[in-house]
């Protein structure tokens, strides 16, 4: 266990921070307000391996360890959570299942395109009647010749408006006639694959979250990820990984809000002195800093387990639960410290406040995380 960042992690952080502050900071408020997906910045990020963080070098990725990947998402989110979201969803839940479950042909065909960012990925499980209850998916995939015919609607798909490759969970009927979920690789341009309008959300507004529609969408058989019926297995494993990504994102938001608050508390004068000299504000800052630090250590611990090949699902859930809760609390305090200005769009904390909330909801709500954690703890033998 090592608590000091190594030189590599410092440089990864410095590089991501430099990029985020140069390219994203100037536009973060604007793209949030007008729901703009900044394609020119995304194009620059492609060249720098933001879309192949953990993909092996021979598929054109950066082959980073999990802490490095978390640091990248954290630094992007510290400035612009919506773009942090785009990157973490692409890497964490769209690319990751390819690394884990795709066959060589699928890897050859898709990984280069995904790792280079030429194609942006999405992962879509959620439906109108299937959120936390992933077993209630209603989208169907019916076998027809050498293809599957997909029908159904996916909602709240992160990157939905811009993805070129989407992993779609759909029910297939197995030889024993039981319905089981399977995962399909759907490409932009497949007939019958349509997108809805962009969602008008509270936060993460620069991310093109949308619905995806499948109307007799024909998907070739070779685009089945894993085996028929592997949906639940792929889904659970992918979500474990995705939770690390959301935790990193929440941590970045908390860090950004805390830094903004420290700066503001030093500058803002009331009663002829900086509000940072008020004990109440100092208490807020102390809590924000302490909890952000605890969140970070918890997250890196989950990353370390993952890279060591150990089970990390419970720790990923803990990190996700805690980081997102810290993000909500810290951003709320940040608005409080900023007072009326914090409630206005003139200050970034207003955006952080809106962005933080959803980290307690997506990739498994806090309630679901508690369920996962409790199950894991209760099932362990008492020693």
């Amino acid at each position: 266990m090592q608590f000091n960042p190594c030189m590599k992690h410092k440089l990864i952080r410095a590089s991501a921070r430099h990029f985020a502050e140069t390219e994203l900071a100037p536009i973060a408020a604007e793209i949030d307000q007008h729901r703009i997906f900044p394609r020119d910045v995304i194009a620059r990020m492609r060249q720098l391996n933001y879309f192949g963080l953990q993909v092996p070098a021979h598929y054109g990725g950066a082959a980073l360890d999990s802490i490095s990947a978390a640091i990248v998402v954290e630094e992007l989110s510290r400035v612009c959570a919506a773009i942090g979201l785009c990157v973490t969803v692409h890497n964490g839940v769209a690319v990751y299942p390819f690394l884990q479950f795709a066959d060589d042909r699928q890897k050859e065909k898709y990984l280069f395109r995904l790792a280079s960012g030429e194609d942006i990925g999405a992962f879509s499980l959620t439906e109108a009647n299937a959120g936390s209850d992933a077993g209630s998916v209603e989208t169907t995939a019916v076998r027809n010749g050498g293809s599957y015919i997909l029908n159904g609607t996916k909602i709240f798909v992160t990157n939905g408006g811009v993805c070129n490759i989407a992993l779609i969970f759909a029910l297939t009927s197995l030889p024993d006639a039981k319905l089981q979920s399977s995962v399909f690789i759907v490409e932009d341009g497949f007939e019958g694959f349509l997108r809805g309008e962009l969602e008008d959300l509270c936060g993460m507004r620069a991310n093109p979250v949308s619905s995806l529609f499948f109307e007799d969408c024909r998907v070739p058989e070779e685009n089945l990820l894993g085996k028929p019926g592997d949906g639940m297995k792929i889904g659970l494993s992918t979500l474990d990984n995705g939770r690390i990504g959301v935790a990193a994102q929440a941590l970045g938001i908390a860090q950004g809000a805390m830094e903004a608050s420290v700066k503001y508390a030093r500058e803002r004068q009331q009663f002829k002195k900086p509000i940072a000299s008020q004990q109440t504000i100092q208490n807020y800052i102390a809590d924000m800093a302490t909890e952000t630090m605890a969140a970070r250590l918890m997250l890196y611990r989950a990353c370390e387990l993952k890279d060591a090949g150990a089970p990390f699902g419970c720790e990923a859930s803990m990190a996700k639960l805690y980081c997102s809760s810290v993000a909500s609390k810290v951003t709320s305090l940040a608005v409080q410290i900023h007072g009326g200005y914090g409630y206005s769009k003139e200050y970034d904390v207003e955006r952080y406040f809106r962005d933080a909330k959803v980290t307690e909801i997506y990739e498994g709500t806090s309630e679901i995380q508690r369920m996962v954690i409790a199950r894991s703890i209760l099932s362990q033998p008492i020693l």
Binding site: E21, T22, A25, P26, I27, A29, E30, I31, H34, E267, R268, Q269, Y341, E346
Partner: protein
Amino acid sequence: MTKQKSIWVFGDYRNYFQNRVTLQLLSKAVDLAGVIGAEVCAVVVGHNIEEWIMEYTAHGADRILSIDHPSLTSYSTEHYLALMQQLVTQRDPDIILIGATDFGREFAPRLAKRLQTGLSADCVGLDITPEGLLIQTAPSFGGNMLAEIVTEMHRPQMATVRPGIFKEIPHDYERTAIVERLPLPSGLPVPRARVIEYERAVQREHTIENATVIVCGGRGMGNKNNFKRLSELAGLLGGDVGATRPVVYAGWAGHNALVGQAGKHIKPKILFSFGISGAIQHTAGLGEANFIVAVNKNPQATMMKMADVAVTADAGDFLNNLIRELKKRIRD
């Protein structure tokens, strides 16, 4: 007999601006020389340099060391290094001051190295102790910090000095100086850096970089229509409009108006800053704007603290009122 103390100023005269810093250095050298009882000596090398010999005499030099030769027609660091090295070795001056022009800042470090002595860079202050120790004040960290530097054990003491810091003495063509016209020493090296082309840079066309008045707007302008009115104010003041990155991104202004790290670096005499918080990405482009007027709802914004005049108001409202008021008052 003790050696006559001497403070040298290198005559850098290639254009008006360089000549002015030389004159400013002569003036400072006269002050410093007064403290330690030294003479002020200007070194002038080149071709057809009588004009400068007269000029430096009129501005305070007690002695001129000059070498006039056709082979010195164009500036050559390597020629000047060889000549200065010889002169310094022969005469052992106490102090050498060189203008921190582009030329000076390339030439002085090599000269100091060759003379195995110390050098401070781009000084904004010079002082001297009665014992003759030159106290050199040089900027660091973007000019926000100042360092006091001394060369204790080695001579001569050398400094390059930022133009515009010291006031030149008014010329007095009655003044006289000892003018030593020295021959070109033999064995000058053939310069290894050869000047192939050389031309005075054309006066640049009018751009935001050399505008005297700039009206900059940021996100605090609220909307595109408000932002557009900035050009009306700029028009009244004969200035240009600048913008921050978010504004350019939102399409309120073109990319060529972008001021900051990723855009233009400006140095206007008057800068109006409307609705700009003052993020470092923007302020990094402001250089040394002479007079800053900031308008912002938030009195604590960085830009407001940087300003000479900080108006706490809605940027759009104030702009409209300022335009109306100006129109009433401007006469032609």
